[in-house]
Subunit: 690 residues, 2 copies
């Protein structure tokens, strides 16, 4: 990244100077002197590059890291839960019993996991600006997408299987950066504990602390059918985390909204957060009951239920933050300060003054279209894996026939390998479960748009949602990966000929879905993007200081230390230990320990640290990130934040916001004594000694 | 009511003058001259008294009316759905098949329906004021409750079975009025259509229009084992409702919040509405799935699911209103106007100035205690009919041992007949269903308070919510009304000796529940009440004009006319007709018509009005209210409001707010030709001709 961009990076972004441990920093812009001052540690370029390349992104929405030169990957159990479930059958339930590949040759391929290693960041701000100059609305949106697709395609070159390139908007478009990744799609499961250990404490303990969760798992990256050889990995610390020591968390925070305008915050609260929470709450009730009906239903629905409960709790935390009048007042005063600054100078006012109202105007349009847009284009009315396949086939068929730059962003050449991995996945689809989720979502479609709505009539005809779901699911052949592959390879023509009921449905809906997407992109998101860039520039003029961009599911470094917090007058200690787990267990899910832990109780060192909290600034997407010390050794594995971390979407509160991790000492202790996973223990130990 | 009180009534209350059809008027304070001016109709005292006494309240939360001198009562199916379900068995499913008592002797007693006929209103403002003078906090709250209990006891006298007396706070305590009712507890089911007809359109059409719902049913009041003879009833109109004609709706709107402060509105939105909606959404998902599991589950859960879905939709409508920035801005400006008026005069400021902050302070306390208060005292954590019985027995045992004025309000002498009706009810309790709802709510208890909370630990011990629910439900004998009766009659001593697990649980919880109630009443509700009275008085000083009090589930008259509205540019006609029903039906629930209607299709006059909308100002609790014309003839039966009526909790919007009713013509047509309920048709016809 060139010098101008770096200075811009240093200047744009968060309002005011944050707390000491605030910040999700891009690897090319670490706040070196602040870290030196605070921790007596200097993250030099060599250290940063090594860390950057040992850390990983799970493309589906998590983080991870290499912990051996043979491509062994540490991440959370909840990040690989879907894989564990997909590999399970009624006979071999790895969710319940855990999984350990005795030999490397027993490691099983995960159908849909893709790993990304960040190899290079390049500034492309100027090129994007040039392509969109003077444009607005639909023309702006088309030009922006076209240039991004073009840049990505050039970056990938001929190696689309092994290279992934994404143009990322940092600082709400103030900076455009090209992220080039090495892509691993052959990823295999090496070890997973039982769900009862990984998710010990379950939903009630989620986002809480003290905790005793063994939320870890091990994957391995393969290339050409062999374990990938990697140059950068993290050795395990011999001692684990120490109270008060500096911890660095390197991962991929999914998104934060710390720089939104008041109008955006209100819109997020009323139009996005609250309705989504209602939907999640209802799905939660449905899935809870579905799961309770039989052991098989339990197995089939548990991963979705985990996702629903986790989102529900996380978003409720965010909502609580937005309901706090003091915080909103703070945000208002910050916005006012910036707007007063802009208004005080006629030139600035002319340049930036209209940006806030521009965003508010786009949000008014959003209010009119968001319900339909979410139901139809974002598929909230069609919750079904079959439907997802069908839409990918219908759209993919049409889009691949167009020049790269004119395609929908998710079907550009550089994105196709991920699309194909999902489409050709051998993960099972459960027809009975599909009927339940699809019928549910069709009911929501009807509820939101009304029984008399022409689109609803077109989808349901004179049938009930349950009948429509039953007919679709029982009539489809899309559960067979070979059928999907044939339709994909046959392209638009094969799709047009198909009489598969889901393909027929997706074909019928697609024009309306595309129309809604067009309205959203042309009248809402592109308008917001353009005005957010202006606000970012105004902020830069006023606050010329070092800041970080809102999270974008790209690699960030967060610096903090191992420390507890004060919860309404009570000090919460930073560590729990293995000995505390056993009296905490009740024998009933989710407080039941698996037999393996109960059997191992006497062998385990009760003083071993189990979980700990640290002041690092993280958010969803950071799950599975390594917690490292200054020597770039793994001392822990982030799997959660405390309840106060949820407001972190909008700001970082140093007094209360804490990351929650599994201690590396607990990982080694349990792999040795509970699971006797000797070959993996030896591999990790050997990697440390290299 | 004396003259001073009437002038106060005319003056206090809603800010500014409302729209033409706005207002839920008490029978002793009708806006006679406005009605004369608008409709050319004068509601004189004789007319008003007759209407007052022909109308009824269903104590459980609905309205109704006498439609014959033999005590025949018209109300909604959804108001008697619980009774129909309670009378049903696996073999005789009256929900599915409807119910018609061929002869009077076949009419079946509803286990829990109580009817109230309003006989007298007396002003007791002065007496309450005298009793509470100079008091605050706990002392105020105790004195207020004591004087109310005393007044009610005097009013009931010796006839507690046939008389019910309630002291009602009107204008947020600006007026205290004693409502004396004739009480009917022997209420029998005469007729109910099939749910498919009554709830045609189901949840998707709820709060929508056009509509084709036959949401009616007929009860009969009995006294001394014989049909009650009543002097006042409503004859059916020969012609039904006419477009543009004046309609009067007489019923019991449950509650409105049109006079809340901004702090109260915010608290209602963030602390009450949104969390309750989350709970309802989750219960909805759970019950939907539970219901889908079997025909028997469908039957058992349908009434609860209806209640949940209805509340969910209604509260979402309210929330939408509170999320409308323009409406909140209006409320803010109204509050500012009044506060500015108060602040402009030192004497007024001294008298009223602190009231708004006083309420805000109480709401801050509420914020700290509301979660626990709702879970424990309001039983949100213990959703179980068995638990409700147990708590009534435990508390009732203790309370009945105290002097009347010192008891909890719901156990004063005047309230005991209703308590006993509920407790001794023969309505079935379904153990499997109880396990589901109780386990669910215990999970919510743990989720909200945390697994480590001492109260949660006391309730759950080392068991899961499911295990606790199973043990309680399988161990209890409270499903037997005779067991409950024996414990009630045995009083505190019998309850103390009982080892029924629900009684044991209720005994264990009661001290904490009472403590929370004490905190709530002493620090929150009594403080709010006291300050709301001050604000009401300030409003009176400023707006010396005719207004109505917020709804309080007491009788109100609402004046409007039959008219449609303009929905985003489209005129919605006020009527649907029977002919429109058949093409609207799809054959799938909730759009399936029962066989009886399909068979009768050719016999029915398709031009008969089915449902209609009118501009009357109503709200939940008005369900089952008669819609009458100037001659006090029934032209319809209110069963719903349109979607815009939901914001009516906070204000009335004359352009959009509409009540939805079944036309009296449709009622007669269907009773004759679909159900051939000749004896009831003849009774109604005979009553008209008297």
């Amino acid at each position: 990244m060139n010098k101008i961009v770096v200075s811009l990076l240093l200047a744009l972004g968060a309002v005011g100077v944050g707390h000491a441990d605030e910040g999700m920093w891009t690897p090319d812009n670490l706040p070196v002197s602040e870290i030196q001052a605070r921790f007596g540690f200097t993250p030099d370029a060599k250290w940063a590059t090594r860390v950057q390349k040992a850390a990983l992104r799970l493309a589906g929405g998590c983080s991870g890291s290499f912990v051996s030169p043979d491509g062994l990957v540490l991440t959370n159990h909840h990040c690989i839960n879907a894989c564990v479930q997909q590999l399970s059958t009624k006979e071999h339930d790895y969710i319940k019993n855990g999984f350990f590949a005795k030999d490397r040759t027993d490691e099983l391929r995960c159908p849909t996991i893709e790993l990304n290693r960040l190899d290079r960041i390049t500034d492309v701000t100027g090129r994007v600006a040039k392509a969109t100059e003077g444009k607005s609305g639909e023309a702006y949106s088309r030009a922006e997408q076209a240039v991004k697709s073009e840049i990505e395609k050039e970056c990938v070159g001929k190696d689309s299987a092994g290279t992934r390139c994404d143009v990322v908007d940092l600082y709400h478009g103030g900076v455009r950066a090209l992220y080039r990744y090495h892509r691993f799609q052959d990823v295999r499961l090496a070890f997973a504990p039982e769900l009862e250990a990984a998710f010990f404490g379950g939903d009630p303990d989620n986002f809480n602390f003290p905790r005793y969760a063994f939320d870890m798992g091990l994957l391995r990256a393969y290339e050409n059918g062999k374990p990938a050889k990697v140059a950068d990995w993290f050795p395990f610390s011999a001692d684990g985390a120490q109270k008060g020591e500096m911890t660095v968390i390197v991962g991929n925070p999914g998104g934060t909204d710390r720089q939104l305008t008041i109008a955006q915050l209100e819109s997020a609260r009323d139009l996005d957060l609250i309705p989504r929470l209602f939907l999640l709450a209802e799905m939660r009730g449905l899935l809870e009951r579905y799961r309770a009906e039989s052991a098989e239903n339990w197995r089939v629905a548990q991963n979705d239920l985990f996702g629903v409960e986790n989102s529900y709790k996380a978003l409720r935390g965010r909502l609580l933050a937005l309901q706090d009048p003091e915080v909103f007042a703070l945000k208002r005063s910050q916005e006012k300060e910036l707007r007063d600054f802009v208004a005080a100078d006629p030139a600035r006012q002319a340049k930036y003054g209209a940006a806030w109202d521009g965003i508010a105007g786009a949000l008014k349009t959003y209010r009119d279209i968001e319900t339909r847009y979410k139901l139809v284009e974002q598929r909230r009315g069609f919750m079904s894996e079959y439907y997802d396949f069908a839409r990918t086939l219908v759209r993919g068929g049409a889009e691949r026939g167009k020049p790269n730059a004119e395609r929908l962003r998710e079907f550009t050449d550089s994105k196709l390998p991920s699309v194909e991995q999902g489409l050709f996945s051998t993960a099972p689809v459960y027809p009975d479960y599909e009927k339940v989720t699809l019928a549910f979502s069709l009911t929501k479609l009807r509820e939101a748009l009304g029984s008399g709505d022409p689109f609803v009539r077109e989808v349901l005809g004179r049938k009930s949602p349950e009948e429509v779901a039953k007919e679709l699911v029982e009539g489809t052949r899309l559960g067979d990966p070979a059928v999907r592959k044939a339709l994909w390879q046959g392209g638009a023509e094969a799709v047009a000929k198909s009489d598969d009921p889901f393909i027929v449905l997706a074909r019928k809906i697609d024009p309306e879905a595309r129309r809604l997407r067009g309205s959203y992109e042309d009248q809402v998101s592109s308008v917001i993007d353009k005005n957010a860039e202006l606000i970012a520039a105004a902020r830069f003029e006023k606050y010329g200081t070092s800041v970080y961009p809102d999270a974008t599911f790209t690699q960030r470094f967060s610096f903090g230390k191992v420390e507890g917090w004060n919860e309404k007058g009570t000090e919460v200690a930073p560590f729990t230990d293995i000995g505390g787990m056993f009296p905490y267990a009740t024998g009933s899910y989710p407080y039941a320990l698996p037999q393996s832990w109960l059997d191992a109780k006497d062998r385990l060192d009760p003083a071993t640290h189990m979980n700990f909290v640290s002041s690092n600034d993280i958010i969803g997407g950071n799950s599975g990130s390594p917690v490292i010390n200054g020597k770039a050794e793994v001392v822990g594995l982030v799997f959660d934040g405390n309840i106060h971390s949820l407001g972190g979407n909008y700001w970082y509160d140093a007094r209360l916001n804490r990351a929650v991790s599994v201690d590396s000492a607990a990982i080694m202790e349990a792999l040795r004594k509970v699971y006797r996973a000797d070959r993996l223990v030896e591999e990790i130990e050997a990697a440390r000694k290299q």
